[in-house]
């Protein structure tokens, strides 16, 4: 019961700060809001008995990625979005409409058909035991794992290629 309550709180926070992130006009503030939101998400991950992922979430996402964002924001010292005059009424109204419809459809679908089949295997004895996870990672998902390495490499090289100044090797 407490777990459920905790989850609701965490999820709630995540949602709230996500909203803050969206509505806030200053990028830096939105990043910070997102950090909080991601922390909250990390909590929910723990509650969903995925402690490793929670940790990764905190370290990689909240830690690395968003800091990177802040860094770039500072670098480019991006200003707050000033309210558009005259703005794009058509775009906003349409977007709003579309989002509402989509959200409604999505939530409705999840709500009524979200249920899935009963678990085939028994619940893992100890969610904190990472051995099975690691084993799975290196057996079944070995290919993905290797592929991922190439992806990261590509990203690295790509980022390097783009971001370096002209003339530098």
């Amino acid at each position: 019961m407490t777990v459920r309550f905790a989850f609701d709180v965490a999820a709630g926070m995540a949602i709230v700060f996500a909203c803050v992130m969206v509505v806030h006009r200053h990028p830096v503030k939105s990043v910070l809001a997102l950090v909080v939101s991601f922390f909250a998400l990390a909590v929910t991950f723990v509650l969903l008995s995925a402690p490793l992922i929670a940790a990764v979430q905190v370290i990689v996402y909240a830690g690395a990625i968003l800091v990177l964002f802040l860094f770039v924001l500072m670098l480019l010292n991006v200003p707050a979005e000033v309210r558009q005059t005259p703005g794009r009424p058509i775009h906003h109204t349409l977007s709003a409409g579309a989002i509402v419809v989509f959200a409604a459809a999505l939530l409705a679908a999840l709500r009524s058909y979200g249920a899935t089949s009963a678990p085939s295997s028994p619940a893992p004895s100890d969610p904190a035991d990472l051995a099975p996870l690691a084993r799975l990672l290196f057996s079944d998902h070995l290919l993905s794992f290797e592929a991922l390495s190439i992806l990261l490499l590509a990203a690295l090289v790509g980022a390097f290629t783009l971001a370096r100044r002209e003339g530098s090797p």
Binding site: F138, L143, A147, L153, G158, A159, L162
Partner: protein, 483 residues
């Protein structure tokens, strides 16, 4: 070898093609950094890598590997072949192109190869995770390639647009995967084959999100908006690749997923959705292409239209339809990639936009490239005795055979419209007086080669389609239709 590491010789053999692509990429990055003098060999090296990988692919033992998450079959060979062909074209185009722009860097080829690797993963993965990683590898590489000319505003902007829309799209894809995983209990595509899933609305939702996500890659209207801008700003060789191989891979992925999910046959509403995508893409693509002034945008819209034709085959959904798709993409490689190759060869200043009008009189100034470009235009327009016609022929045949007359009729009417702008290019080439005087610089050897190959390919496929068709039929056998 540690006990937990499940990597058999079979798996190595299966992964060999990707491995050598990856390795070649790394090698070139390193060479670029430490032995810049080797740059002029990069194109050759990449070609070698492509050749080697396709060789491995064709030699790899058929069947599953990596715990049933990776496939080697006629289908993957077919996909691998036309992807490799596209890559080869792109590399050959890139060589002189990059020389002209002084951007002949290892990264370009490396990213191209890695993107190609992503395509290969997409076509061979039996596991949504692998497919997704492949997709992302491809996307990331090409985000970078789009923005590769940092000195050119258009290029950077293309990068930004491609990146934002691409990330947006892959978020949807990912959510679709999430839903499917949740419902099927596994990311294996085969897991979708559970009979009770076929009708589940949430599964349909997930499939729809996948359709959208990959439809974005295929640049189906209304998920096409990125294509014109990106094509326009992106270095032409990269476009040559991006405009063909990833699309083919995406369609094949969609076919995989749908065949698994709809073993019993595709639901009518879903088919309607696909058909509408097809119609919208064909019509919008062709009609708007008429209004384009920049040839790369024109080709982008033409591409949108062509994917509409392909999507007809997706809506028809059957073994022959899949075979038709494969044939279509082989034809599309020679026609579309060839067209971009010719564009790269004919527009000698990459820093400027590529208005069609600039081709005026090229027919006499640089006859060979113009001839090939014209040939590509006729092929794209689907004039018989060219590859393009063969592609259309089989697509429409499959539609007629299964009784989708409306789709077929809309299709042909669209190709009538398309003639309008394809011929416009031809007439600018041959029936206008040159704008710039003086003989143009001679074609680079690589350009000659690639243009010659594409021209020959267009005519060969157009005149002797039998072999290709049988090959495609066999490839289509690899998917479990109507089981």
């Amino acid at each position: 070898m540690p006990s937990f590491l499940a990597l058999g010789p079979n798996d190595v053999a299966a992964a060999a093609p990707e491995i050598c692509l990856a390795a070649a990429g790394c090698l070139m990055v390193l060479l670029d950094a430490f032995a810049p003098s080797a740059r002029r060999w990069f194109a050759t090296l990449s070609l070698a890598a492509i050749a080697l990988s396709i060789w491995f692919l064709l030699r790899a033992p058929y069947g599953l590997s990596f715990g049933g998450r990776y496939e080697t079959s006629d289908l993957t060979s077919a996909a691998g072949l036309f992807a490799a062909a596209t890559a080869a074209v792109a590399i050959l185009v890139a060589k002189p192109y990059l020389q002209r722009t002084g951007e002949e860097k290892g990264e370009f080829y490396a990213l191209l190869l890695w993107g190609h690797l992503g395509v290969s993963l997409m076509t061979r993965g039996l596991d949504l995770l692998v497919v997704f990683i492949g997709l992302e590898t491809l996307s990331l590489s090409f985000y970078v390639l789009a923005a590769f000319f940092r000195t050119i505003h258009a290029s950077s902007e293309a990068g930004l647009k491609y990146f934002l829309t691409g990330a947006f799209a892959s978020a949807f894809t990912l959510y679709g995967i999430a839903l499917l995983f949740g419902k099927a209990g596994s990311v294996r595509i085969a897991a979708l084959a559970r009979p009770d899933l076929g009708a589940d609305p949430l599964v349909l939702f997930g499939l729809l999100l996948l359709l959208v996500g990959f439809g974005f890659k295929v640049s189906l209207a209304p998920f096409h908006a990125w294509a014109p801008d990106v094509y326009q700003g992106m270095p032409t060789p990269a476009v040559a690749y991006l405009s063909v191989a990833p699309k083919g891979a995406s369609v094949i992925v969609l076919y995989r997923v749908l065949t698994a999910a709809f073993a019993a046959g595709i639901p009518d509403r879903f088919r309607t959705a696909i058909a509408l995508l097809a119609i919208l893409s064909m019509t919008l693509g062709n009609v708007v292409a008429l209004a384009q002034r920049d040839i790369k945008r024109l080709l982008a819209y033409s591409g949108i239209a062509h994917m509409g034709y392909v999507t007809i085959a997706l809506a028809v959904f059957g073994r022959d339809a899949l075979a038709a798709v494969i044939v279509y993409f082989f034809a599309y490689v020679v026609s579309n990639a060839g067209a971009f190759a010719a564009v790269a060869a004919l527009y000698r200043d990459e820093t400027k936009p590529h208005p069609v009008g600039l081709l005026a009189g090229e027919g006499r100034r640089s006859p060979f490239a113009s001839a090939v470009l014209a040939l590509c235009m006729f092929s794209l327009a689907g004039i018989p005795a060219t590859a393009g016609f063969i592609g259309k022929f089989f697509v429409f045949k499959s539609a007629i055979e299964k009784g989708f007359y409306a789709l077929a009729i809309i299709g042909v009417l669209n190709s009538l419209v398309s003639i309008g702008y394809y011929l416009k290019v031809v007439y600018v080439l041959y029936m206008r007086e040159p704008v710039e005087e003086g003989a143009p610089p001679p074609l680079a050897a690589a350009d000659r080669l690639v243009l010659g190959l594409c021209g020959a390919g267009i005519l060969t496929l157009g005149i002797f389609p039998a072999g290709l068709w049988n090959f495609a039929r066999r490839a289509a056998e690899s998917l479990p239709f109507g089981r």
